[in-house]
């Protein structure tokens, strides 16, 4: 076997009554990229946090480069050669980019006077950026002048500065666009070439397959198995993650693009800051897929259809009960039985500091009110049945949404629209950051809704999902619809991607 750079032996960690990681034994090899996957709650993040020194294990030990490794904190871990980047914001506003890179290490630039030489710091930061291939970023600027994505890239550059032998990437790619991801991938390849190691944690099987040598699966805090990427199939991996066979197909199996003739939602000549003269229509019973790069305008497209973004020119029209009505704002879109699931789940689709009941019932309060009085019993009943239909794993409907896992949070969002009896659903990245079990149920839900004659707009950056589920696909590029595809067997990703970039 190749050289082992890190060994984890009998590692365990519990948080009061919950066991997050249970007796895990794993090996990581030099010059390899290790994928680590598992559903939410599988323990993969806790494990990587222990390796990165953020938390300390309750039992077991870690052996790094042949010696017992017990960092006091993540700074010490970074100095020893293990760095980690995560999904959340890790840069601090109010400072420049260079100051963020060298946070905690300013002593590198103090001369005899003890004052930090900003010029030297900026020069060094610029050098790092050139090496990592991101010289377009000016380190003298305040970090808040960068987009979320570029800030994440700055964090990546920071973690590389200490020349780590082991880099842990914990679900960072979920928040990045294609260009951000390719920078990350090239860094990973570079690490591999230099004989260093990367632990890559992601929910995206496709991505993990493409860039990893091994895939290790965790489930319920236990280490399950490691597969070699070359010799395994997606369904094998999924089964290990869920612990049972996945019956039925993943996406849709039918090849027909059957749907009604009437148009339920349409926009004509819509122009916004991000869209340029877009016109299209959604048929009844159709799943209309929308693909494109992050900044192609497709996300704004979803907002326009829901009345959330007011177009500078053009109109959005919905057909409801035989009549055509203009969609002017979310309030009236909801009355026309349209629902919208934002890709920004925590900030836009949910009120985290509210109960499941309040979240689910909110759009339907209008429906429930009798002479301004809203019966608490009716509200509870509505929310409860929504939660039951979606099989939300919760304590009860009075539980605050912030305590739910990502997948269950998304179920709350969907329960909200199902309870409102929405006929048209606009879904923006509905399965992002969600584990396999819930993903499967969302696809099944979409199939069921289509069979019931409901119509869906599926905006997603996950191309296989769009190709697998849609009757028709619109490809957005630079604010315009660049191509349209009808559902057909063996529609290849490359065919579609051509029109995206």
């Amino acid at each position: 076997m190749d050289d082992i750079i890190l060994k984890v032996e009998g590692l365990s960690k519990s948080f009061s009554s919950t066991t997050a990681v249970a007796d895990v034994y794993m090996n990581f090899y030099k010059g390899k990229i290790h994928g680590l996957i598992g559903e939410n709650g599988s323990g993969k993040s806790t494990l990587s946090n222990m390796i990165a020194g953020v938390i300390s294990p309750d039992a077991g030990k870690i052996i790094f480069k042949g010696e017992v490794y017990k960092p006091a904190d993540s700074a010490e871990a970074a100095n020893t050669g293990i760095s980690m980047i995560t999904q959340e914001m890790g840069t601090i506003g109010g400072m420049t980019i260079a100051e963020n890179i060298f946070l905690g290490r300013e002593f590198l630039f103090t001369g005899k006077s003890g004052l930090v030489s900003t010029r030297k710091m900026n020069r060094e930061a610029a050098a790092i950026f050139r090496k990592t291939g991101i010289s377009y970023i000016d380190p003298r600027k305040p970090v808040t002048s960068l987009s979320f994505e570029d800030r994440k890239i700055v964090e990546i550059a920071r973690s590389l500065y200490t020349n780590p032998s082991l880099l842990i990437i914990d679900e960072t790619t979920t928040a990045l666009s294609q260009s951000g991801r390719s920078i990350l991938y090239s860094i990973m390849e570079q690490m591999k070439k230099n004989g260093r190691t990367v632990i890559f944690i992601s929910h995206d099987l496709e991505e993990v397959r493409e860039h990893c040598d091994f895939i290790s699966v965790m489930r319920d805090g236990h280490y399950i198995d490691t597969l070699e990427v070359r010799n395994c199939t997606d369904s094998q991996i999924r089964e290990l993650m869920v612990g049972r066979k996945i019956d039925g197909s993943w996406y849709r199996t039918d090849e027909s693009a059957a749907c009604g003739n009437s148009i339920v939602l349409s926009c004509s000549h819509v122009t916004t800051a991000l869209l340029d003269d877009v016109s299209c229509g959604l048929h009844q019973g159709e799943i209309l897929g929308v693909a494109g790069l992050t900044d192609s305008g497709m996300h704004d497209f979803g907002k326009v259809l829901f009345g959330l973004t007011k177009p500078q020119t053009g109109t959005v029209v919905a057909a409801y009960k035989g009549e055509s009505k203009e969609v002017k704002n979310p309030g009236n879109a909801i009355k026309l039985k349209i629902g919208y699931v934002s890709k920004n789940r925590d900030e836009e689709a949910l009120m985290l500091l509210s109960s499941i009941k309040e979240n689910v019932a909110l759009p339907s309060l209008d429906m429930l009110a009798r002479h301004t009085f809203i019966s608490p019993a009716k509200e509870k009943k509505l929310a409860q049945s929504g939660a039951d239909v979606m099989q939300i794993k919760m304590r009860d409907i009075d539980q605050y949404v912030m305590y739910l896992s990502g997948g269950n949070k998304q179920k709350v969002v969907l329960a909200k629209w199902l309870s409102n009896e929405s006929q048209v659903l606009i879904l923006d990245c509905p399965t992002r950051g969600i584990d396999i079990g819930v993903k499967e149920s969302i696809y099944q839900l979409m199939k069921k809704l289509k069979n019931e004659g409901k119509s869906i707009v599926l905006i997603s950056e996950e191309l296989p999902e769009v190709i697998g589920m849609s009757d028709r696909i619109l490809v957005f590029k630079d604010g315009k619809i660049n191509a349209e595809f009808k559902r057909k067997k063996n529609l290849a990703q490359t065919d579609v991607v051509k029109y995206m970039i």
Binding site: G331, L350, M351, L353, E358, N359, L362, Y403
Partner: protein, 326 residues
């Protein structure tokens, strides 16, 4: 050290802490009751029993009454996560107009006070909702502006017609208090107005995406706060028999203190409950009365209230509110 990494861990510990989330929330909602009991017992003991005499209780009720109206009125603004600093100036201005219009009869006078409050509330709400100026800033400005109005009008010597002095009766006020509280309770807990307001406080973007008319709700909240303050202004005129340039000063701070003592979260949202108005007003009245019986200097009294407000806000803020996004 990655701050958000720590947050994830702290949340993890918190989630599986020994007390369940629900138990903790119940405990936290009991604090105001315990606090009220504590204040009453504390002051009763330290004033040698002078607090709970029937005469003094009358005084306490008269002090609690306007605060109750004010807290009920402003609760929608607070539920939305906003603040209203203009209440005191609205009280003063409304009292002035009540007196100025006394010539037209009782109902006309009352209507004038209410209208004054409603219009100032409308001003607050529209600037906030349509020009995107924070509620705090808008109401601080109107506070100054209408304090000026009160000073100018009040120095002319405005009085309540002697014939109307029967209005200053405890029975009438109890009736009014019950009616107002019942009405506001209904609005706050059982109608869209209350539920939408709490949703806005919990997450305004998500509220908008669930169809809530944000601007309309913000405007309504400030208008309601204004009209209730107008009612307080009328009763201030009734109680004092006249209007002074200082009528209503510090009223908004007393109202805020009462609400926070009563358990109302400053950031609003789902945890906002109307009973905070009731318990808080009682707590405030007993507290203020106790300080007076002790014979403490007026300005020191303000200082004490300020410190208590600070502590109460700090305690109510240690919850998840601070960690998650807002």
């Amino acid at each position: 050290m990655n701050y958000y990494g720590i947050t994830k861990v702290v949340k993890g510990i918190h989630l599986s802490g020994n007390i369940s989330e629900r138990e903790r929330r119940t405990l936290q909602s009991l604090f105001p009751f315990i606090g009220l009991l504590f204040i009453i017992i504390f002051f009763q003991v330290t004033t040698g029993g002078r607090m709970l005499t029937s005469r003094n209780l009358r005084t306490i009720f008269n002090q609690a009454f306007p605060v109750l109206l004010g807290t009920c009125g402003v609760s929608f603004v607070l539920a939305q996560g906003n603040l209203d600093f203009s209440l005191g100036s609205i009280v003063g201005t409304a009292a002035c107009f009540g007196s100025l219009c006394a010539g037209g009869g009782l109902f006309f006078s009352l209507a004038a006070s209410l209208l004054a409050g409603l219009l100032i509330g409308f001003l607050n709400g529209s600037i906030h909702a349509f020009f995107n100026v924070s509620g705090t800033v808008v109401t601080l400005c109107t506070q100054f502006a209408f304090r000026g109005v009160t000073i100018i009008l009040g120095s002319a010597g405005l009085f309540l017609p002697l014939a109307w002095s029967w209005l200053d009766s405890v029975q009438l006020k109890i009736l009014a208090a019950v009616f107002v509280f019942a009405l506001v309770f209904f609005l706050f807990e059982y109608t869209k107005f209350g539920k939408y307001s709490r949703a806005i406080g919990a997450g305004s973007k998500a509220a908008v995406q669930s169809g809530i008319p944000l601007k309309k709700m913000k405007l309504l909240a400030y208008m309601f706060s204004g009209i209730m303050a107008g009612l307080c202004g009328f009763f201030a005129l009734v109680r004092a028999g006249s209007v002074a340039p200082t009528t209503g000063t510090f009223f908004e701070m007393n109202v805020l203190l009462a609400l926070v003592l009563g358990g109302m979260p400053i950031s609003g949202g789902s945890a906002a409950k109307l009973r905070s108005a009731l318990i808080g007003s009682a707590m405030f009245a007993f507290l203020a009365n106790g300080l007076i019986i002790w014979g403490i200097n007026d300005s020191i009294q303000q200082g004490v209230k300020g410190v208590i407000l600070l502590i109460a806000v700090a305690l109510s803020f240690e919850r998840e509110n601070a960690i998650t996004i807002k």
